[in-house]
């Protein structure tokens, strides 16, 4: 016999759940998920609002700010040194540091590295960061270079001999000595992934002017160079203040002090100065992560409500099944304290499960976040990991909720009268109301989340099926320095040296259209659109559906259906045929519209409705990259031919790997698809939990009123009628839950659908979800009724 109280409670708990362990395990799994989501939510919150990036020296400077410019389309970009000067008017400024990122080719020991990202940092920048830069005695900092861990490992093959060797940056007359390898934390700063770090004095070699080496006596040239470098908006600024000041106030001071040297305007219309608290190199990513964090908090809240109700009903049902034991124990002298202790001991084993499950889930969660592009963009190389105290705290909190759910039900039952002929049935009106309220909440919650998941899945399916292009088409991108002369044969879809293969061309690539504005002749309002130059056969290769097609292409422009809807006055777009439109990019030019095509998902499936205009490639100018498309079977041959042609005809060409349009679109859609997958998984888990809880609730209600069922059976009630009797409460609860959930869906959809970029309510999914819920309720009642039918009627009647 197990005498020790802990072992005794563990063993008896195990026995009372005999045959029900799966349900209990699912509940524990749900609580483990809750603990992990809570821990991850806390950690992400810490990253978003408390922790600076791993490379920032936050000990030295407590009040850090970032100064940059921001443009709706381009995003965050740099400010000029003149703007930085304006910061000096801020009271209590401790330090100002800045960094600029530029893509250049470098040469190291005879090897050319194209498109190397170089970070040019101010001397003060090193003080702002907590990581040490190796130095070389006797060599000026401007003559040193540091390589990132990634570049060192991937491009320089981790060869330690490179330290002390020299590299040469294109147009930089002075070779730089590699002083060392920087820690991995500096592999990524926001979206920028610098390969080489150099002092900002080297920027002088990367202006449109030829710069003499530092120290050469050429005052005229130095003047022009300095003027350019003062006005070029390329610097991201981190500054520290003695005391915290409202960023808006700082913004006003900087804007008031903003100056531009004459003839040096690099303004970008729509761009504005922005001061942000903390070190923020990628505000869009931070905002996206914040949105996901808020969605995670909402999920945690929803999950904790559902799980608590679930636990209450599961434990409540369990107690109903064992009310005789509880009564007997109380008669024998069991106190509330002994019930509470017994509950605590009995949760020792579930706690082990909870810990194990949550540990595994935590590892998976950490891995998923570390793989996520969004997180990488935000935190760079800093691994996402939840500290043991945060995990333990989340686990403890979850355990407390689980324990209280169990203890509350026992306490609730241990208040029942010890002598009552109707014991076990003697639920008060408030208890019954509470049970029904729980049922309504569970059904409404399950219905709501299932409807959201179904609406999202349906929309995604419809979006995917609405895309009519051939996604197997592949793309190879070529980027180069300067402007290129596009071979005439490409206009009509033939690449030099590959006359047998149909090749399409675009400037720029599939995913990178340019911005333009378009205006119909005779109208005043222009529409902001995306534009791309394409070859004659581009649409044929993509197999895109042509809505209207005059046959005059490429003597005009093609517009997407969504743009046509904006421009046209007639529903069939007939008024657009040959209608002249003014397309403004750098210059304005008028073209006739010669066709309307279905929307192509350049920015992913959900954004395929962004208006597009397609111009003939022969009209392209000032290009430094192009993309070639072909059928997948010709991709290799095209890539080889493109490489050969590019080496011969282009300056410093770089060829991208072959990618199918499907891959490109999927990458763009990955965030949304991931969100959909996560919603489906969570919806499935929550609905399994709710189904288990409701089935257990029905089972315990049947158990509580077995005698009533016995009486009905004696008088000839059929099995189907018994099932309906068992479902009666659930169906009534469903009738109440559906309107509540629909109202909730409508509210969520109107408030968050645009924000999350997914529809949350599709009316067409509601009837099937109601039907499936009703069928699941029937199923939940059928099983206990079937086992009731196997019992002897005599036994049922005797068991009062």
């Amino acid at each position: 016999m197990l005498s020790h109280p802990l072992l005794f409670e563990l063993a008896t708990e195990w026995r009372t759940w005999k045959g029900q362990w799966f349900k209990y395990l699912i509940l524990l799994f749900g609580f483990s998920l809750l603990a992990v989501l809570l821990a991850m939510g806390l950690r992400i919150g810490e990253l978003l609002f408390i922790d600076p990036p791993a490379w920032v020296n936050s000990d030295k400077h407590k009040n850090l700010y970032t100064l940059s410019r921001y443009h709706q389309k381009v995003g965050m970009h740099g400010v000029s040194l003149n703007t930085i000067e304006g910061l000096k008017g801020i009271p209590g400024i401790e330090s100002i540091a800045y960094i600029a990122f530029r893509s250049r080719s470098i040469k190291h020991q005879g090897t050319l590295f194209d498109s190397t990202e170089i970070a040019y940092f101010s001397e003060s920048f090193r003080n702002q960061i907590s990581l040490k830069f190796p130095t070389k005695e006797g060599v000026a900092e401007s003559q040193l270079a540091w390589v990132s861990t990634r570049f060192f490992e991937q491009e320089l093959k981790g060869n330690p001999a490179v330290i002390g060797s020299t590299i040469r940056i294109t147009r930089n007359p002075v070779p730089l000595i590699i002083a060392g390898v920087l820690p991995p934390e500096l592999n990524r700063l926001g979206k920028n992934q610098p390969d080489i770090w150099v002092n900002d004095k080297n920027l002088r070699y990367h202006t449109p002017f030829v710069a003499p080496p530092v120290g050469s006596n050429n005052p005229e040239k130095e003047k022009i160079l300095n003027k350019f470098l003062r006005n070029a908006p390329i610097y991201y600024v981190i500054f520290a203040l003695e005391k915290a000041i409202d960023p808006a106030e700082i913004q006003q001071i900087v804007a008031a002090n903003f100056t531009v040297d004459s003839a040096m305007t690099f303004s970008m219309p729509g761009s504005e100065l922005r001061v942000q608290q903390g070190v923020v190199f990628d505000p869009e990513t931070k905002q996206a992560l914040k949105n996901q964090w808020l969605a995670l908090l909402a999920l945690i809240l929803a999950l904790s409500i559902i799980l608590t109700i679930n636990a209450l009903t599961l434990f409540g049902g369990h107690i109903v099944m064992h009310w005789r034991s509880i009564k007997t124990k109380r008669i024998l002298g069991a106190s509330q304290k002994s019930f509470l202790l017994s509950d605590l001991w009995s949760l020792a084993l579930p706690l082990i499960f909870l810990t194990l499950f949550s540990y595994v889930l935590l590892l998976l969660g950490e891995k998923t976040i570390n793989f996520s592009e969004l997180y990488k963009s935000f935190a760079g190389n800093t691994r996402f990991s939840v500290s043991a105290p945060i995990w333990a705290a989340s686990l403890l909190l979850t355990f407390v909720v689980l324990y209280l759910s169990k203890a509350m039900q026992v306490l609730n039952f241990s208040e029942e009268k010890l002598f009552d002929r109707a014991f076990g049935n003697s639920k008060t009106r408030s208890q019954l109301l509470l049970a029904d309220l729980f049922l309504v909440i569970q059904l409404a919650g399950g219905f709501l989340i299932a409807s959201i998941a179904a609406s999202m899945a349906l929309s995604e399916w419809q979006s995917q099926s609405a895309v009519s292009i051939d996604r197997s088409v592949t793309e190879v991108k070529i980027s180069y320095n300067g402007d290129a002369k596009i071979p005439n044969s490409l206009y009509s879809g033939r690449f030099p040296g590959l006359s047998s293969i149909p090749v399409g061309a675009s400037i720029p690539g599939f995913q990178e259209p340019l911005t333009a504005s378009i205006k119909r002749a005779g109208t005043k309002t222009s529409v902001s659109v995306n534009a791309i130059y394409v070859s004659e056969n581009y649409f044929d290769l993509l197999a895109v559906n042509k809505v209207t097609w005059s046959g005059s292409w490429p003597n005009g422009v093609i517009v997407s259906r969504s743009l046509a809807s904006v421009l046209a006055e007639k529903e069939d777009y007939s008024d657009l045929e040959a209608a002249p439109v003014a397309v403004k990019m750098l210059f304005e030019k008028t073209y006739p519209i010669v066709g309307v095509i279905d929307d192509i998902p350049h920015f992913g499936v959900s954004q395929r409705g962004d208006p597009m205009v397609y111009l003939p490639i022969s009209a392209a100018f000032l290009n430094n990259n192009m993309a070639l498309i072909s059928k997948p079977e010709h991709a290799e041959a095209l890539a080889d031919a493109a490489n050969l042609w590019a080496q011969k005809n282009l300056l410093n060409p770089r060829i991208s790997p072959i990618e199918s349009l499907d891959e490109i679109i999927r990458q763009t859609d990955s965030l949304r698809l991931g969100f959909l997958a996560a919603t489906l998984a969570v919806s499935l888990l929550i609905n399994i939990l709710i189904f288990i809880s409701i089935s257990y609730q029905i089972k315990s209600r049947i158990k509580m009123t077995e005698h009533e069922y016995g009486v009905r059976m004696v008088y000839g009630c059929s099995a189907s009628h018994l099932i309906l009797v068992a479902c009666r409460d659930c169906f009534l609860a469903l009738l109440v839950a559906v309107p509540i959930a629909t109202a909730g869906l409508w509210w969520l959809d109107s408030r968050y659908a645009q924000f999350l970029d997914v529809p949350l309510l599709r009316v067409s999914v509601l009837p099937p979800v109601v039907l499936i819920t009703a069928l699941l309720i029937l199923l939940a009642a059928t099983v206990p009724i079937a086992s009731l039918l196997k019992k002897s009627l005599f036994g049922l009647m005797r068991h009062t």
Binding site: M1, T328, R330, L332, A334, L418
Partner: protein, 231 residues
Amino acid sequence: MSHLITAESISKVFQSGAIETKALDNISFNLNNGESLAITGASGSGKSTLLSIIGLLDSPTSGALYLQGQLVSGLSNYQKRILRNREIGWIFQNFNLIGHLDVLENITLPLRYDPRVSWRDYENIGKQALTSVGLADKATALPQQLSGGQQQRVAIARALVNKPSLILADEPTGNLDSKTSTNIIDLLFTVVAQGATLLLVTHEPDLALRCDSEIILNDGLVSDAKPPITV
């Protein structure tokens, strides 16, 4: 001889909405230590209600009940629980054994709620009680693996395990055949002979005759008492 139980004008009214049902009406009696008392009467006469009040499962609507000289209505729930655990041994018609606990675990249950008993002693004390009812070999059996008579023996062992001064038995042989009933009754009276006080509810006249005294209830009133009641 001191009174173990003194009941003075005990009444009990059950209320269901506007309907009042008087289950007990002005019941008074004494029971001394070491004596046995049978409460008999027809179904619905209030026997089990009276037993539940004496066993501290319920409270009277009016009247006073003294246990070991203590006025029960003045006791807290905590004190009542302690009394129930240490001074009262309950035996039910339907045994009330816990199905997922084995015989020994069922018997030692009252010990688990008595902090004076160390968990290391549960097994020994439980086995002694089990031996005293002749079921030493059934320690690890589950209740449903035993016959009705054996289950009632286990219930008696559980009632005795804390050595209570009062044993309350609610129709202890109601679910048993006559041969088994005789054995159980013999066992109960052996316990009484060892000094315990027994108060039992029964329908069976033979069983009532074996008790020192008898109260016959009719519609909540004492219709007869043998010997006549003295309060």
